[in-house]
């Protein structure tokens, strides 16, 4: 089962990476980066469920060992928060850019390469 989840995660990650590299619209690129973050989350939660050193049958059981089991899910929660912050900042910049140039095409945003 872990394999299937990891395949899903890799496929998601690659779609996201392809999107970042090929899309020209800034918001589409931001969405692609979100996709990559979500691929990470799928992998983290899958690993958290299937690969864990804690023996749940050990003394103390789930209650005692929960912090090992939940490490990956904990990181996934942080990822979700950080991704949201990043998008908020991205949209603010998009609005600022829109006010000045009327375009969101990343290939048109190249003042410094001219």
């Amino acid at each position: 089962m872990l394999e299937r989840l990891l395949i899903l995660s890799v496929v998601l990650f690659c779609i996201g990476l392809y999107g970042v590299l090929s899309r020209r619209h800034i918001i589409a690129i931001l969405m692609s980066i979100e996709l990559m973050f979500n691929a990470v989350n799928v992998a983290l939660v899958a690993f958290s469920r299937y690969v864990t050193p804690a023996d749940l049958g050990a003394p103390g059981g789930l209650a005692e060992n929960a912090r090992y089991v939940l490490t990956g899910q904990g990181l996934a929660v942080f990822v979700i928060v950080a991704a949201a912050a990043e998008v908020a900042l991205g949209l603010a910049l998009v609005i600022a850019l829109m006010r000045r140039t009327d375009t969101l095409d990343i290939t048109a945003v190249n003042l410094m390469r001219r």
């Binding site: 904990g74 990181l75 950080a82 910049l93 998009v94 850019l97 000045r100 140039t101 003042l111 410094m112």
Partner: protein
Amino acid sequence: MGLSARDLLLVSPELALVVLAIVIVLLDLVLDRKGFVLAVGIAGLAVPLAAALGLWAIVADGGPEMAFHGALVVDAFALFFKLLIVGILGLLLLSSADYIERFSPHQAEFVALVLLSAAGLMLLAGAADLIAVFVSLELASLPVVALVAFSKSERSIEAGIKYLLLSGLSSAVLLYGFAFLYGATGTVRLVALDPALPTIATMLPAAGGALPFGGFAVLLGVVLATAGFGFKLSMVPFQMWTPDVYEGAPTPVAAFLATASKAAAFAIVLRLFYTALGGASADWSIMFAVLAAVTMTVGNVVAIAQSNVKRLLGYSAIAQAGYMLIGVAAVASDGGSLLGAESVLFYLGGYAAMNLAAFFAVIAITNATGDDRIEALAGVGRRTPLIALVLAFALISLTGIPPTVGFMGKLFLFNAAVSADLAWLAVVGVLNSVVSAYYYMGIVRTMYMREPAEPRRIGAPVTAWVAMGVATAGVAVLGVWPAWLLDIARTAAGSLVP
């Protein structure tokens, strides 16, 4: 599982910075004179400085301390970077007193964002598990995105968007690497990764133990994490953003990126590879050796063709990152000597001094001329002899000519490379220094040999003079008397490996 007073004491430098940032934003609401917040910011830095020095005393006596159930570590290595970052912050705020006038009435937000980012960088230097690494990295880079776009000019916003997109991409790649490291070992603690690595064979039997790093999952994790960190280090092939962002960002922000941000990125790379992956050093040493050679060559060669001084400093930052990667690669094959790590720490200290001196001089000059092309520096030697001298001295140090810290730093780096059987890397480094002399000295020639376009003299406020004076003194003192910083760097690097 609670929050104890001891935990708070151990993160007191970062806590002080965050509180200072909040105080500044609140003060801004009630104060009429907006310039005052900067003075509060600079004076307030005494608190994190004192806290970090106090922790240094505690750690020197009792050894490393763990905070928040092992998520953060407070050891000499982390404190070295915390002190370095506070020092950089102080000089940077001093020097930019004039510059941030143009952001009026938003100076307070600028100062607060710089402080928040610095708090993230300081946490990063002490991060002891992958979650802490990720969270502090985001805390460090998100404020910088806003700072890069702070001028609100088209150029500045373009730089901000480029930085945001590439930093998001690199975070995602880095995290995917972390996910595989976690999946392969079942732990996110850096100290626990190393002993946990042999168990990979049980997870992926097909991988066996013969492959580098011992298994596909760890190999993938390490490669992805290196790519993610490569962005922060402006390491080739992840350096594309550096010149654009340096050119578009407000100059003090570029200086912050080049010194504080880079120092913290090297801190976490050293910690990750020495502490968590120390057992596989033979595998990653050669990877970093090749990356170092490519990075400094690309940085130096492309810098030759630049006509904008901020863009040139961007390529210079790439090349300098290449030199420092030599130290990361120069891990002794027996694993006993930390010569490479301590030379990186020494170089980061010296690099902060010389790069800040260069940036401060550029800030002072471009603030007066409003033109950041290299041509505009023509005759600056006559228009402002002292600032030109500061810039020339900093550039001599960046080239690596004695009696400056740049020379000493490179000497230690190349020495570490030779003693780690990477003599060819030292040769590449020396050849690169020769190439870099062309463009660094080109600026000096433009300043002194060409006629000024206009005779008007260039002045600078007292605060900028103080900042330039301290940075230049650092370059000179460390150049003739490097032993004391080297001792500190040795102590700091010593706490990397238990």
